[in-house]
């Protein structure tokens, strides 16, 4: 998968999970800048990523997610591996 494909799909997921974010804002999203980033949001992100990419993450790992960039890197690593 091309990096741009991954970014497009992941930012789409962020826009679905966090109403009000656009694509550019999604790429900069962090737990500190998005007020709706809570345990429910993590649950949604986890489910959406699983649905979109067919990948399963451990709950402990997902609980540590604090930014778009961190998730993008985790996804990239899994997809490459």
């Amino acid at each position: 998968m091309q990096p741009s494909d991954l970014e497009g799909r992941l930012s789409g997921i962020f826009c679905a999970a966090f109403a009000g974010l656009n694509g550019d804002q999604a790429r900069l999203a962090t737990r500190d800048t998005v007020s709706a980033w809570d345990s429910i949001a993590i649950m949604n992100l986890l489910a959406l990523i699983e649905e979109e990419f067919g990948l399963t993450f451990e709950l402990e790992e997902a609980a540590e997610w604090t930014s778009y960039e961190q998730i993008r890197m985790a996804l990239s690593k899994r997809l490459e591996g």
């Binding site: 789409g12 679905a16 999970a17 109403a19 699983e50 649905e51 709950l59």
Partner: protein, 577 residues
């Protein structure tokens, strides 16, 4: 539906109606994706409504249901899993699975089923309740070979079904079909233990979507279709009647026509439930009639009206049948074994549901399931069964009116009886249905939500007038509904509908006459709005000199302009003037 699609449809939804349509989603788990899917499906089913959803506090389905005030809701969806009947049957609470505990589990489940039944009964007295019995696997409380049916599990399911059977007799209870949920959500793929332990949400996404889709469908079902138009050769029976003769067409197992026999059985069943059946066949009319008159046919000949068999185009035959039924193409289905004929009809009537009758036996099950989906309704009311007969009566009446010496004499000879019921009965399902499906004689085309209906009739000045009609051609059932408020000699009518089956009988004049009389009114004001389809009501207003700009009429004006009425009236007033 995918979760992303559900979230995006909610995010992108435009502001809708001003009136909120509120549903309760009752489950003991974190509502999470289930609520998302439930909202998205309800928004799809009610595109004009502003959907609001309430959920229960985590972990207490039975207590939560007992606390619900039904008057706040349009419907309640309740999902009862095994853990709600005894926590030991779930996976989030530890309480022991030892055989010595089994009797205690059974007793607990029985007690909690009784509690659930109490809530179902209380809530369903006011609002529709869609109920799902356990859809997730029971914890392995018993140990045996996986394929072996277990004693405890069998006992618990027996108790649950016994209770459910009792609940089904209640008005407004809509039980989720286990066969349907099994069809759209494979049992082995439903449970997500990781999510259950991590988030308190036990459903795999696909199952959450399936549950939400099914429950929303039970609470906001699409309007059932009213009529089915069928082809004959290759569809109602195997063979071409013009080639093999009436005795040569077949529809049984030993003659190779089993799928046609199954189709006939379905049509008879639909007809008995009030669905209109018509025939559109490219055929010789006499031959078609001879075959339809065969007494071994599994659908009665008199179920079909009209039967049009000639060599015109199928879409023209369909048009004539729709005109005879006085319904739009969106309320009918067309079935034919010829893909070309189906395409021709679909091109002319894009809103009509169509299906090809396949000669491939494996396809018949899908067709029968499709018919069940198109024509299914939560409950059958008497008027549904009367509909087909009254259409034939209307045709007979029309023929007779041509023979009568004059309009007045003809109407007098009808020996018409109208039964008026004046009340504030918010439980009158037929009245509610009529208001929400009638288009032609409709004061303003406004639809009413269940909550709005109840609210209007809880008003001490509100009233609901219904009219049932019968004449020498037979009963039409409940055919008119008026909803309004009256105060100090004036009435304001907010809804007035009349079934098209009752046109040309002056029922509308008799209705106004009865309202003036029974509520001792001096003036009636109408909340009229012109719609694309309410021409019959506009013509009625014109006949009484009621203007669209100031839609009202005084008693003296009405009495001066009302034509002669010859109905015999029966009145049942549960409220006075």
């Amino acid at each position: 539906m995918k979760l992303r699609e559900a979230l995006e449809s909610i995010r992108d939804s435009k502001p809708r109606g001003t009136e909120q349509t509120r549903f309760q989603l009752a489950c003991s788990c974190a509502p999470a994706h289930l609520e998302t899917f439930f909202r998205a499906f309800l928004m799809r089913r009610r595109p004009d409504a502003d959907i609001a959803i309430d959920t229960l506090p985590y972990g207490d389905l039975l207590g939560g249901l007992e606390a619900i005030n039904p008057s706040a809701y349009t419907g309640v969806a309740a999902i009862c899993e095994w853990r709600d009947l005894d926590p030991r049957l779930g996976f989030r609470r530890l309480g022991g699975w030892a055989p010595s505990l089994h009797e205690d589990i059974v007793a607990n489940v029985e007690t909690n089923l009784a509690r659930l039944g109490g809530s179902v009964e209380r809530l369903s007295a006011s609002v529709p309740v869609a109920l799902a019995l356990p859809t997730l696997p029971m914890a392995p409380v018993e140990i045996s070979a996986p394929a072996q049916a277990l004693n405890l599990e069998t006992r618990l399911w027996t108790e649950a079904w016994k209770c459910a059977q009792g609940w089904l007799s209640k008005r407004n209870v809509r039980l989720l079909s286990m066969a349907e949920i099994d069809r759209i959500s494979p049992p082995s793929e439903r449970f997500d233990l990781r999510s259950e332990i991590g988030f308190g949400f036990p459903y795999a996404l696909r199952h959450a979507s399936a549950l939400a889709e099914s429950l929303s469908g039970l609470l906001a079902p699409p309007p059932p279709l009213k009529g089915l138009i069928t082809d004959l050769d290759g569809t109602l029976w195997r063979g071409i009647v013009g080639e093999v003769g009436a005795g040569g067409v077949c529809f049984t197992l030993d003659t190779g026509g089993q799928i046609h026999g199954l189709y006939q059985q379905m049509l008879e069943s639909l007809a008995e439930r009030g669905v209109l059946l018509g025939v559109a066949s490219k055929n010789d009319s006499d031959l078609a009639e001879q075959a339809l008159a065969r007494n071994d046919l599994l659908v009665r000949r008199d179920r079909f009206f009209p039967v049009l068999a000639n060599w015109g185009s199928k879409s023209e035959l369909v048009r004539q049948i729709l005109a005879a039924w006085n319904i739009g193409p969106e309320a009918a289905a067309f079935i034919d074994d010829s893909p070309m004929e189906v395409e021709e009809v679909r091109t002319r009537f894009p809103q009509m549901r169509t299906a090809v009758f396949s000669s491939e036996p494996s396809k018949i099950y899908e067709l029968l399931r499709q018919l069940r989906e198109w024509f299914g309704r939560p409950a059958i009311v008497e008027e549904d069964r009367l509909r087909a007969r009254s259409l034939q009566q209307a045709a007979a009446m029309e023929a007779a009116s041509g023979e009568a010496p004059g309009r007045e004499a003809f109407l007098a000879a009808l020996q018409a009886r109208i039964s008026f019921q004046l009340s504030r009965d918010a439980h009158d399902e037929r009245a509610f249905e009529l208001v929400n499906k009638t288009n032609q004689f409709n004061l303003n085309g406004r639809r009413v939500t269940e909550a709005g209906w109840r609210q209007m009739l809880s008003n001490p000045e509100g009233f609901l007038l219904t009219a049932s009609y019968e004449d020498k051609f037979g009963p039409l059932g409940k055919i008119a509904v008026v909803l309004g408020e009256s105060r100090r000699g004036d009435a304001a009518i907010s809804s007035w509908v009349m079934s098209c089956r009752a046109f040309s009988r002056r029922v509308e004049y008799a209705t106004l006459s009865y309202l003036f009389e029974s509520l001792k009114l001096d003036k009636i004001l109408f909340r009229f709005e012109k719609t694309e389809r309410n021409t019959p009501l506009q013509e009625f207003f014109a006949s009484l000199g009621i203007s669209n700009a100031a839609p009202e009429i005084s008693r003296s004006e009405f009495e001066a302009r009302c034509p002669a009425l010859s109905h015999r009236l029966e009145a049942h007033a549960a409220i006075g003037s």
